[in-house]
Point group: D2
Chain length 294, copies 4
C-alpha cells in the first residue's frame, strides 16, 4: 500500500529532526517553514519545500504541526495562504505543539467544521530523542484514528500512548511539564538552602544523585548548577509559557495547583530579570540571587 | 583493637534495624527505648538493655540517637536520668535524627560545654535500606571525627559523605527532604490535573514512568495513587514536621523557598483534615478532594 | 446643544441601574440585553429597547458596554447582528466591563480598524453606588476623548480619573480588585487563625474594626464571617475570573504576583468545592473547612 | 487606695513612651533597660532606674515587658539577675511583646510554677498612639485579672479587650499583623502591576484612596510608594519575624495560611537583599526590583 503523503510545519529545534525522520522513513514529505533556510537539509532528504501552509495542505493526506504555541498554530491555519484554505474534508491534522487542552479542542472544533480530523499529540523528550526517533508521544482524539497513525507516529517516537478524547494529549503534556518545572525548582531551592548552610554544590549534588529522588532530568541538570552554565536546552521562556498554560488550565478546569502557582511566579520573576533565553535551570541562578548569594 | 562500645537510643521503624546492624557487626551494644518491648529483638542479638539514657552514656564510647525530633533529643539529654548525667568528657554523640541545623548546633554547643563531641548524621533511605545497612548518611562536624567513625557508620549505610561543619548534615537532610516533598506534591498536582482532563490514572502513570522525570521515589509512590492505598511508609505528619523545619531554616538563613512554602501549607491542610497518619503520598488524596474529584 | 445618543448593552446587577441613570439624565437611550425582560424598567424611563447590538450601534453616538467578560464583549461586537455591523466611523465605544488590558487593547485595535474610537472605563463600587451614580471610573484611552465624555461619565460616577493610554483603566481595575481579594483573603486567614486560637469571631472582628487595617470593605464584610451568611454581593466566581485575569496580566507583563497567585489557587479550590455562587467572602468558609473547623 | 507599684522592662520605640505614660499617671515606677541611657527621660518623670530585672521584680507588684521577641523575654526572666530571681508568689507579669501563643503559654507555665500570674497583652498602633496612650490592647489570660488591671492598661490604650485564655492576646496580635502584612504586600503588588501597565503611582494611589479598600494603614503608607522613601516606622525585619511566628503558629495549630506563606517568603527575600532596616513598606521596593522596574 502506498504511504500517505505527509506535510510538516514547524522546523524548529524539535521539528527539523522530526521531519527528517519522516523523510528517511520513506514518506512523501512536503515542508513549510516561515524562514526558508531551515528547510534546506530536508530538501536533501527528498522533501519538497513549499511557500505556504496552503500548499502543504493541498499536497498532503496528513499534516503535522510542531509550533511554539497555539497562536502560531492558528496563524498557520488561517488566512488566504493558510492550511484551511488548501485542505479538504477527510484530511488529518496532528498537532504536536504544546498548547492548552482548551486551545486544542477549540482548534479541533474549528477544523472539524470543515470536515478535517485531528489528533493532539504533544511529545516529551528533547532534541536528542527527537533525532533518534525516541520521543514519547501523548495522544488525544479518536482511538481508531490513533491506531491508524501508529506507523507514522512510530517513526517519531518509541513510547506512543492514546490517553483519551481530544485534548487528553495536551493535558498530559502540561501535567508532565508541571513535574519538570517542579523538579527544576525544588532542585534550585534545595541547592540554595544547602549552599547557605555551608554545603558545597558538588557535595550536595552527590547526595541527590545517590538518593531516590534522582531522575534522568536531575542527572542532566544538576551539573549546570555546579558549573553555573545555563546554556539553553529548554529555554526558560518556554517553560514560563507552559506554566502559564498550566495555571490557565487549572483555572478553567477548577484544579488548584498551589505549588505550580508559586513556581510560575518564580519563573515570571526570572523573565522580568532577563533570564528568558537561559536554560530553565537558570531558575537556580535567580533563586541564588534572591537569597543574596550573588 | 577492641571495638568501641556503642549506645543506641531510639528504636523506632528506622532505629530498630539500624541498632540490629550495629549488634551484628560485633560492637558491644547498649540500648534504651522509652517502650521496653521494642528492645527484645536486640537482646537476642546480644545487646544489653538498660532503663535510662544515663546508663547508656555510662557504658558507651559513642552514643547514636535516632529520634523523632529535636525536642525528643533534648528530652533524652536532660534530667537526672539523661545522657548528660551519665556521660564524661571525650564521649561522642552521633545524632541521626532529622532536626534543623540551628537545633543541631544548639545541642552541639550544650554538650560541647561538657566536653562531649558531636556529629550530626541524618540519613536518607527508608526501612528497607535501614535493614540492609544501605542508608545514605550525611555528616556534619569535625572531618577527622567523621573519618574515625567511618567503620561504624559503614555498618549502617553504603553512601557516607562529610558535608561540612556542625549542622551541614542537618541542612543537607532538609534540602533532600524538600525534594522528596516537591516530587510527591508535583506528582499529586500532575495526576489531579490529568484526572480532571479525562486521562486515566494508570495511563498518566505510564507516561510519567516512561519519561525523564521518573525517579525511584516516584516509581515507588505512583502506584499508591492508582490504587488509592495510602498505608504509611513515611507518615504525612513526619513530612509536615520536616517542612516546618525547612521553612524555619529558610527564615533563619534568609533563603526564600516559595514552592516549599506552598507545599508546607498544603501539608498543613492535610494534617487539619486528618491525614497525618496516612503516607505522605496522601497529599494526592487531599488535592483530589480540593479539586472536587471525590 | 443636543445630547449625544447613548446605547447601553449589559443590563446586569450593575448595568441596569447605570443605564437608568443615563436615561434619567436626559440622554436619548437605546438598550439591548440578551434577556429582554430586564429592559422593561428602562422602557418606563423612556429608553428604546431593540433586538440586536447592531440596532444599538445604528442608533447611537456612544455605546457603553457593561458585560461579564471579554468574550461577552466580543460576542456583542461580532456576527451579522453585532455592534460592528451597525456602527460607522467616528463612533465611540466605552467598555466598562472588567477585562484584561491585553483584551481591551485587542478590542480597541479591532474596532479602530473600522474607524471607531474606544475608552476602557471599568468601575469600582458595587450596586449601591451604581444606583446612586457614585461609582469610581478608571479610564484609559485618549485624554481628549475622556474630557469630552466627562459629562456622561459624571452621570454614572463621582470619582472620574484618566489613567493613561488604552488599557490603563483595565489594568487599574485589576490592581484595585487585587487589593479587594487580598483584604478578603487575609481577613479569612486572620479570622481562622484567631478561631483556632480560641478567640471568638465577634471579639476578633471588634479588634480589626478598631484598628488601622479597617476599610469600608472590611467593615461591610466582617459581619458575614460572624454570622456565616455568604449571600452574594460580589459572587465568588466573578472574583475567581478576575484573579485569573490578574495572573494572566502579570504573566504577560512580567510582574510577579506571588501573594495573588496563592489567593487565586484558594479561589480555584472554592470554585471546585461549589462555592462559586456564594459571596467572595465565602473564601472564609472554605478556609475554615480546610482548617478542619467545620 | 495606694496605686500598685509598676515595673517596666523594654524601653524601645514603643516601650519608652508607654512607660512614660505609666509614670505620668502617678504609678510608682521602676524601670530597667539593657542600655541605660534610654531610661534618663523616665527618671525625670520620677521613675526609679535599676540595674537588673531582678531589682525590678523585687520592687514591683506588676511587671510589664515590652520586648522584641520571646527569647528577649526569656532572657529577662532567667539567670541570677533575672525577674524570676527577684519576684515572689502573687506577682503579675503583663507581657506586651509580640510572641507566638505557644511561647506565651510556655512562659506562663514556667512562671506559674513559681506562683506568678500572667496576662499576654500585645498591642496594635505605632509610636504615635503609644505616646498618646491610645493603643489597642488585646488581652489573654484570666478575665478577673484583666478587669483588675483595666485602670493601668487604660493608661496605655484606649481600646482594651479581653479575648480569652492565656495566649488569646498573642494569637489575636498575629492575626492582626497578618492583615497588616497582607495590606502592605497587596498594595505593593497592585502598584507594581499598575506601574508596569503604564499607570502613574500618584494616579493609582488616588484610585485606591478613593475606594472602599482604603484603610488608615494604606492612607499612611501609600505616600512612601509614590515618594520612594522607606524610612522605618515598623522595620521590615520585625514584620519578617512576625510572619515567621504566624507560619509557625499555623503549623502548630494546623491552620493553612497560603497567602501569608507567600508573603513570608517575599519578606525573606527582602531580608536577604538587605532591606531589613527599611520600613515594611519597602516590600514595594523589592517587588518593583523583582519586576525589573528598577
Amino acid at each position: 500500500m502506498a504511504k500517505q503523503r505527509v506535510g510538516f510545519i514547524g522546523l524548529g529545534l524539535m521539528g527539523a529532526p522530526m521531519a527528517a525522520n519522516v523523510a528517511r522513513a520513506g514518506y512523501p514529505l512536503l515542508v513549510y517553514n516561515r524562514s526558508g533556510d531551515k528547510a534546506a537539509p530536508l530538501r536533501e532528504l527528498g522533501a519538497a519545500v513549499v511557500e505556504t501552509p496552503k500548499e502543504v495542505a493541498a499536497g498532503s493526506d496528513v499534516v503535522i504541526t510542531m509550533l511554539s504555541d497555539a497562536s502560531a498554530v492558528e496563524q498557520v491555519l488561517r488566512g488566504e495562504d493558510g492550511l484551511l484554505a488548501g485542505g479538504r474534508p477527510g484530511m488529518l491534522l496532528i498537532d504536536m505543539s504544546t498548547v492548552a487542552p482548551e486551545q486544542s479542542r477549540s482548534i479541533a472544533i474549528e477544523i472539524g467544521a470543515r470536515g478535517w480530523q485531528m489528533l493532539d499529540a504533544p511529545v516529551f523528550g528533547s532534541t536528542g530523542p527527537a533525532k533518534d526517533g525516541k520521543l514519547g508521544i501523548m495522544v488525544g482524539g479518536d482511538a481508531a484514528l490513533f491506531e491508524a497513525q501508529r506507523e507514522l507516529l512510530g517513526v517519531l517516537g518509541k513510547f506512543l500512548t492514546h490517553l483519551g478524547p481530544q485534548g487528553a494529549g495536551a493535558v498530559a503534556k502540561l501535567a508532565f511539564n508541571l513535574m519538570v518545572a517542579a523538579q527544576l525548582t525544588s532542585l534550585a531551592e534545595a541547592m540554595t538552602l544547602a549552599a547557605r548552610g555551608g554545603v558545597e554544590a558538588q557535595k550536595m549534588a552527590e547526595v541527590i544523585l545517590a538518593s531516590n529522588v534522582s531522575s534522568e532530568l536531575i542527572q542532566r541538570k544538576v551539573g549546570s548548577i555546579v558549573s553555573g552554565n545555563f546554556a539553553p536546552a529548554f529555554p526558560l521562556r518556554h517553560m514560563h509559557k507552559d506554566l502559564g498554560l498550566m495555571i490557565d488550565t487549572g483555572h478553567a478546569m477548577m484544579v488548584p495547583l498551589p505549588a505550580t502557582a508559586a513556581i510560575h511566579e518564580l519563573f515570571t520573576t526570572a523573565m522580568a530579570r532577563g533570564r528568558g533565553d537561559q536554560d530553565s535551570m537558570a531558575i537556580y541562578g535567580l533563586l541564588a540571587e534572591l537569597a543574596g548569594l550573588r
